[in-house]
Point group: C2
Chain length 127, copies 2
Amino acid sequence: MRAMTVVAMHEEKGPVPLRLVAEMEAISEQYLEQIFMGLRRANLVTGQRGAKGGYTLARPAATITAGDVVRAVEGPIKLVDCDHNGGCLRAHVCATRELWDKVSQSMSQVMDGATLHDLATWARAKS
Amino acid sequence: MRAMTVVAMHEEKGPVPLRLVAEMEAISEQYLEQIFMGLRRANLVTGQRGAKGGYTLARPAATITAGDVVRAVEGPIKLVDCDHNGGCLRAHVCATRELWDKVSQSMSQVMDGATLHDLATWARAKS
DNA sequence: AAAAAAACCGAGTGTTTTCCTCGGAATAAT
DNA sequence: ATTATTCCGAGGAAAACACTCGGTTTTTTT
């Protein structure tokens, strides 16, 4: 998320090389590469190879939510991994699952309520 | 949470032995012991030794929230573990932390909005 | 008094997840 | 050519998670 915030802050200034992100956020370039592979596969960023290359947001920052980023790198936002949809053997399992589902929904709601534009704005305000 | 729901369902019927919970929820008795140690330390349940013993809720089910249970077993409900309060070196870190804090708060809010009484009711409705 | 049922307790274990490294290949600008 | 960069597959160390094991103490029942 921190990396994507950096890219969002450079939205109009062309591609951002990971070397720069690595420096700014103190995250190894190699680790960032791995993360950006996921972001690229999810079509949130486009990569430009070679010198003067780097990553660019695939859509305007205001249209990419934090939820989009989380889902791209960590998969679906949910607390439990129970797919016995409707056919639960244990009723209590499903009673708690109802709760976990509510929590997951709430998490998604908050994360989808913040865009990269918002994060970039907050970050600028803090610096 | 499933175990506590079972105990809550037996609220008026005296202590619930873990053997019963283990059977009902298909969780090993030994694992449950470990979990209930935490619940007891957090004063959510009281243990009664010996035959006819078992665990009882320390307070009425309607006054114990799912959040209480989660915090007792897993610790504080928060997504990130950053305690650089205010003194963040990297501004972007803190921008994202604001988001994580919002998400954590939202999770707590949902979990504290459901009591064991609620869970027990839901479970009964499902059986 | 003996036996059984249950909570208590500390330590250990296998698996998965998380976070991260390594070495290289392809591509583009200088 | 050289340099800067993304692209890619394969690991690897450490922590978290989900448990197990072997025993002790307490209480009720027989």
